[in-house]
């Protein structure tokens, strides 16, 4: 995973709530066995609509998505994160994320930033009024900045450290392999096995 410290880019306002993972990447695209190449499937059905915000050329090259509440509900598909990253997004801002989506995003280094409804609405107003407005998502200082906006967000110290260092969770866990072995020696012998 690439480290994430601070990112500055332009932002897309996605004024929709309950953007589920079937909208982010439809099931048809989940048949693939690779981790990359999902950008063409991102918001596939909506991109057929010329009025959809991602089809607005003023937002070409934007790297921050500013969405309504309950972003990423539904399926556990990590492909949703891969599709957003393949398209070029580095961070998603929303008043509320679905738990599994948030977890997947943090694994892959796509920063999910939770801000209050009114702050997200202000940010959407700012980038709607000026699509060239630069938005900074600063993980070091835990703050989002845009012209006329300076909003602190919450992220726990451990997650922030892991993202800033770009650390692989499996490697971190395997540092404690002895603890896993010790736990296994304590498990009840009647616990089921699959073979």
């Amino acid at each position: 995973m690439d480290p994430f410290t601070t990112h500055t880019g332009r932002a897309v306002p996605l004024r929709r709530s309950n953007v589920d993972t079937d909208q982010i990447i439809p099931a048809e695209y989940l048949k693939r066995v690779a981790r990359t190449g999902f950008a063409d499937g991102l918001f596939r059905a909506w991109r057929n609509d010329p009025a959809f915000v991602l089809n607005d050329p003023r937002y070409d090259g934007a790297t921050v998505l500013v969405a309504g509440p309950d972003f990423g509900t539904g399926s556990s598909r990590e492909h949703a994160v891969w599709a957003l990253q393949d398209y070029g997004f580095r961070a998603v801002v929303s008043p509320r994320f679905a738990d599994i989506f948030r977890g997947n995003a943090l694994k892959g280094g796509l920063l999910p930033v939770e801000l209050p409804d009114d702050v997200v609405a202000s940010l959407q107003d700012i980038v709607e009024a000026d699509p060239d407005a630069e938005v900074t998502v600063d993980l070091v200082d835990r703050v989002v900045r845009a012209p006329g906006l300076d909003a602190a967000f919450v992220i726990d110290d451990y997650t922030r450290w892991r993202l800033m260092e770009g650390l692989d969770d499996i490697g971190l866990t395997l540092r404690n392999a002895d603890d896993i072995t010790a736990y296994e020696s304590r498990r009840a012998n009647w616990m089921p096995v699959t073979n």
């Binding site: 309950n18 099931a27 989940l30 309950d70 509320r96 969770d169 499996i170 866990t173 616990m191 089921p192």
Partner: protein
């Protein structure tokens, strides 16, 4: 110290707990299917890692599987299934492939085999893993990176979730099912209502449910945004498990039951959030929108939109506020899925369809959740009831719950579906989905309009 059920199961699986770090939790059972595992196995291969505990891992083919006889025609689907087979062979994971008597939807086969037991931690790269919480297990969906993590370490670093009680008071009225109950709950608390929480379903109506009904309720916990849903194990749970292939036997059974009986929320334990639901106020329920929180009593009307999300949903669904829901015509009925594809669900649908005919022009798919469910249903003659009524009796798989196999809606088609998601395009691009219970699906098949059995 007093603990909730979820807190007890969490504490019993702590591998490591250190200040300032997520807890490291041991995973007792890891279920795997073809869609979310390929990139995880590839990650192991690249890093030169093995599956730490293949005997705590079980794989099946479900999402891409056609429910009519014959091989997978779609080349991309076939490659994905073949990739799973190759990975399971290389890493020593037991697999139930298409055509095997053990094959079925991942969340149907775990309980059916007796692999899902109270107090366990169960994960799968699939959000409906919450189903297994019906046994008092802590069960939740994970992403592919976490699948790789569990394969490599049999553990997961996790932030401790909050706890939430849904207290269902009173008994469900006659004709009201577990599906109506959970749809009613999601309508009440919304798709984000459970976010960050593990829900424990409690109360008289929950205790009165069969294991199949409890699985239906826990299955849709994710639709309320919850990390997991749980129900404390009781005699209903133990009766269901006893004698199943992977359930403990003899003295082990006694030891297991003695432990399982401790898996209840202590009387003075405190939940972070408590919601009360009146079971007696529920009736057959149906969704009218494009998320599972947009639901209403089937006896009611399409509601006026409250916000832009509702307006968008009504436009997508091509519905006008004020329309009686029982006047909404469908062209497809789907009975199946990990929500409602078990034997009890098929019996409930057959009871409505017996001696009746499907309305002309309505396509009705009845899809058992596993090959074992299919065999059990056929032993009771249920397939004859469905076929005599004009429904299609299919093979086991995820089928029309999601658009990954040949069972789909065409653009503009409308279904009554016993599955779990009514998202835009979920059952096929441009398709429109109304979530319902198996009896309502069957009654709808007969009239061609959304219908409760009592109104036949």
């Amino acid at each position: 110290m007093s603990q909730t059920l979820a807190e007890k199961v969490w504490a019993a699986h702590l591998v490591r707990s250190a200040a300032g770090e997520p807890d490291l939790l041991y995973i007792d059972l890891h279920l795997v299917h073809e869609v979310t595992s390929a990139q995880a196995f590839e990650g192991l291969r690249v890093a030169g890692r093995q599956v730490r505990r293949p005997e705590l891992t079980l794989a099946t083919e479900d999402h891409n599987v056609p429910t009519t006889p014959g091989p997978i025609v779609d080349l991309v689907s076939r490659t994905q299934v073949e990739t799973l087979r190759h990975n399971c062979e290389e890493f020593g994971v037991r697999l139930f492939p298409m055509g095997d008597d053990g094959q079925g939807i991942v969340h149907v086969i775990g309980p059916q085999l007796g692999l899902t037991q109270p107090g366990m931690t169960v994960v799968c790269g699939d959000s409906h893993t919450s189903t297994h919480g019906a046994f008092g297990a802590l069960a939740f969906g994970i992403g592919t990176s976490e699948v790789e993590h569990v394969l490599a370490t049999q553990s997961l670093p996790l932030q401790r979730p909050k706890t939430m009680a849904i207290e269902v008071t009173g008994a469900l009225p006659a004709g009201v099912t577990a599906k109506d109950l959970v749809l009613g709950i999601i309508t009440q608390i919304g798709t984000g209502g459970g976010q960050g929480h593990v829900i424990e379903y409690r109360g008289e109506a929950i205790r009165g449910l069969s294991m199949e009904g409890r699985m239906t309720v826990c299955n849709m916990s994710i639709e309320a945004g919850a990390r997991a849903g749980m129900i404390a194990p009781d005699a209903t749970t133990f009766d269901y498990l006893k004698g199943r292939p992977h359930a403990p036997q003899g003295a082990d059974w006694d030891a297991a039951v003695a432990y399982w009986q401790t898996l209840v929320t202590d009387d003075d334990a405190v939940f972070d959030k408590v919601v009360h639901v009146d079971a007696t106020a529920l009736s057959p329920w149906v969704t009218w929108g494009t998320n599972p929180g947009q639901g209403a009593p089937l006896s009611g009307r399409v509601p006026d939109p409250r916000d832009s999300s509702d307006e968008r949903a009504l436009a997508y669904m091509d519905l006008t506020p004020g329309t009686m829901l029982h006047d909404v015509a469908v062209d497809t009925v789907f009975i199946g899925s990990c929500t409602n594809g078990r034997l009890e669900d098929l019996r409930a649908a057959a009871d409505v369809l017996r001696g009746r005919q499907v309305a002309p022009g309505v396509r009705v798919l009845v899809v058992p959740g596993s090959v074992a469910v299919k065999h059990d249903a056929e032993a009771e003659g249920l397939h004859e009831v469905f076929e005599a009524a004009g429904a299609q009796w299919r093979g086991a798989g995820c089928s029309m719950c999601l658009g990954m196999n040949p069972d789909k809606l065409d653009p503009g088609q409308r279904s009554a579906s016993t599955s779990n998601r009514n998202f835009e395009g979920r059952q096929g691009p441009g398709g429109r989905t109304h979530l319902v219970s198996p009896p309502v699906a069957a009654a709808t098949a007969i009239t061609g309009r959304l219908t409760a059995p009592a109104d036949l």
